[in-house]
Each structure stands twice: as C-alpha cells, then as structure tokens.
C-alpha cells in the first residue's frame, strides 16, 4: 500500500522536475518548486510509515511553510519598495 503510494509520489516528482528543468517561463518553475515541496512532504510522510516511525510529521509542517515563503519571493521580491508608498 505504502510502497505503491511511494512510487506514485516519485513519479509525480519526476514530472514536476521535468517542468522545473524545461521551464519555459518563470512561473512554470515557481509552480514546479512549489509542487516539489508538496511532494517532498508526502514522500517524508510515506517514508515515515514505511519505516515504522511516523512521528516526524513536524517536518512536513516546516516544508509546507518554506514552500509558502519561497513562493512569495519571486512575486514580491524582498518587500523592499513598500515603505512610504500608499
């Protein structure tokens, strides 16, 4: 069961990777990175069950968070121009 899930996750990872490598636009790559973050979370969860120690789902939270922060980076830059403008 979990093995099948792992393989499925790996395949979607490969597809996301292909999009990140091929581009062609910036937004394709951002979405690919984003999707990759999600898939890593899933993979860690699945691996946790496979090895019988599923308690590190904390990690998954962090990955989701990092994914969210990164996604905003390109949209927003570092937020430098906001000061003073209405």
């Amino acid at each position: 069961m979990f093995a099948a899930a792992a393989i499925a996750v790996l395949i979607t990872m490969a597809l996301a990777l292909l999009r990140a490598l091929r581009g062609p636009t910036v937004y394709d790559r951002i979405l690919a990175l984003n999707m990759f973050g999600t898939k890593t979370v899933l993979l860690i969860a699945v691996a946790g069950f496979l090895t019988g120690r599923p308690e590190w789902l904390d990690l998954a939270l962090l990955y989701a968070l990092i994914g969210f922060v990164l996604r905003n980076t390109k949209y927003r830059g570092l937020g430098a121009d906001e000061g003073g403008t209405p």
Binding site: T51, G52, R53
Partner: protein
C-alpha cells in the same frame, strides 16, 4: 568494494564533482555560490550516508523498546554545524557579490577582469 555496498558513495562523489565544477569553473559570482551550495550539501550527504546503519532508525530513543538499532547520531550533529557554516558562507559570499555589483556594475569575472585592467 561492491556495487550494492558502495553505489551510494559513488553517486555522492558525482554530486560533489558537479558542485566543485560550478564553484571553480563558472564566471558568474552568484552561480559560484550556488556551486558552493551543491558542493557542501553533497559533503553533508556523505556524512549522513556514513552514519546510516542497516535496519536502523533515527537516533531518537524509543521508550521501553528492547533492541532497537539506531543510526549513528554523531555525524548528524557534525552536519548540523556544517549546514550552519554553509549558510554563513553563502550569506557573506552573496554580500560580497552585491557589493561587487554595486562597485563594478557586473558580477561576471571576465567583465570584472577587464574593468580592473582598464583602471590602473
């Protein structure tokens, strides 16, 4: 030496080589820092691979369980430090790159060499 026992080390060596190549061969300073990142992450992978014990689990003790095999915690500790060293170098390296860009208007080594030669 066997394929089954050593393929992981060979894969890590290949990763290290790519990182080192980007670090020393590329002209763009930011790209160099990316190479540095790849290189250091590969070294961390090596330590973590050394720490792995077959059939082992993460070195967070399970209470009441008898004979659980744990992976080696020491390399993990060392690598936490190495990650920190890596991000510190990245920050300072990028800080320098930003300053170089402000002072020269470029971060390509070829171009920088040209500018330095033109200005005695």
């Amino acid at each position: 030496m066997t394929l089954a026992g050593h393929w992981i080390y060979w894969a890590i060596v290949a990763l290290m080589m790519v990182g080192l190549y980007v670090l020393i061969a590329r002209e763009n300073l930011v790209k160099k820092i990316m190479g540095l990142n790849l290189f250091q992450v590969s070294v961390i992978l090596f330590y973590v691979a050394v720490a792995k014990v077959r059939g082992g689990t993460a070195p967070i003790l399970v209470e009441g369980a008898g004979d659980v095999v744990y992976s080696n915690p020491l390399p993990h500790v060392l690598m936490l430090t190495a990650i920190v060293v890596g991000v510190s170098l990245t920050a300072v390296g990028l800080g320098l790159a930003v300053r170089i860009r402000a002072a020269y208007g470029s971060v390509e080594e070829d171009e920088l060499d040209r500018l330095d030669e033109a200005d005695p």
